[in-house]
Amino acid sequence: MIEHYSSRRGLLRATGTAALSAVAIGILGDAPALARAAGKEPGVAANAGDIDILNVALGLEHEAIEAYQIGAESDLLQKPVLDLALLFQGQHKGHRDALAGTIGQLGGKAVQPKSRADYMTSLNIAAIKTQADILRLAQAHELGAANAYIGVMPSLGGKALAQVCAKIAADEAAHWSLLTSALGEALPKPAFMFG
């Protein structure tokens, strides 16, 4: 799956196809508002709340991208951990682009990232002193993100959008697993590690 989405274009193509099926009515009717109204038919298309949910998800992706950037610039990450962080950051950029594109297709306005200063404060970057600190921040973020995507799926108006979220959640889960391994921590024994 990771290999399949190793190129940003590939991810965009895949998620774009799913999203397009969700907003096809609105696009074909040349009236983005139709994409919202189409949510009246469960499982077929998007509803008004989808834009808000996707924008929350986009906010998460903005935060992850900046957190990995701060980590990469910190001089605390050593190879191959640095390479891993940049790989994950690239995949978060893919998620960002797919989400922003879908929000636009739904007739919404994609949220913009906050300032570096805002992220430094809200993520308590001042407390980070070691590579392990960065890995733990990333690990916590990826776990929360995977659970967040799973948690919003029942609220989405269309199955195609839920599938997009499932694909992103799988990426986040893979990130969490590799970060957990990099920290030398064991995986949980119970089933249903996420959600």
Binding site: S122, A140, L143, N147, G151, V152, P154, S155
Partner: protein, 124 residues
């Protein structure tokens, strides 16, 4: 008429008390872990992030965390966060406050109770 009203009130109170007694009692220690894993990507106790800061949320009027840009729906919601309102919101936010940006659902009642117990503990 008065007798009927008093009887209805007594029945309502009995039902409410039974419902509260049957509701799962939350464990704040479990809630802390669940909060980190499920809420922590958007929320922190002391910082506004994708979602508002949560310290003090229990007992607070909805849409009033300082410095957070709420949706019009949440700003206009006439809700005070307590066990009942948080439980209902976490179960399906957009059903309770149509127009809220939060779509995340915590579907398991026991998990919701744990998270609410944690938020209550952190709001004291």
């Amino acid at each position: 008429m008065r007798w009927a009203l008093e009887t209805a009130a007594a029945v309502w109170l009995a039902v409410a008390a039974t419902a509260m007694a049957m509701a799962p009692s939350g464990d704040p220690a479990r809630g802390a872990k669940l909060y980190a894993a499920n809420c922590g990507s958007c929320h922190s106790l002391d910082a506004n992030r994708v979602g508002p800061a949560h310290r003090g949320v229990y007992g607070r009027k909805a849409g009033t965390a300082r410095g957070y840009a709420y949706s019009p729906a949440m700003r206009g919601a006439r809700i005070v966060w307590n066990e009942a309102t948080l439980d209902r919101f976490l179960q399906n936010p957009q059903a309770m406050v149509p127009g809220t940006r939060m779509g995340f659902r915590l579907t398991d009642p026991a998990r919701r109770a744990d998270v609410i117990a944690y938020l209550r503990q952190q709001s004291r």
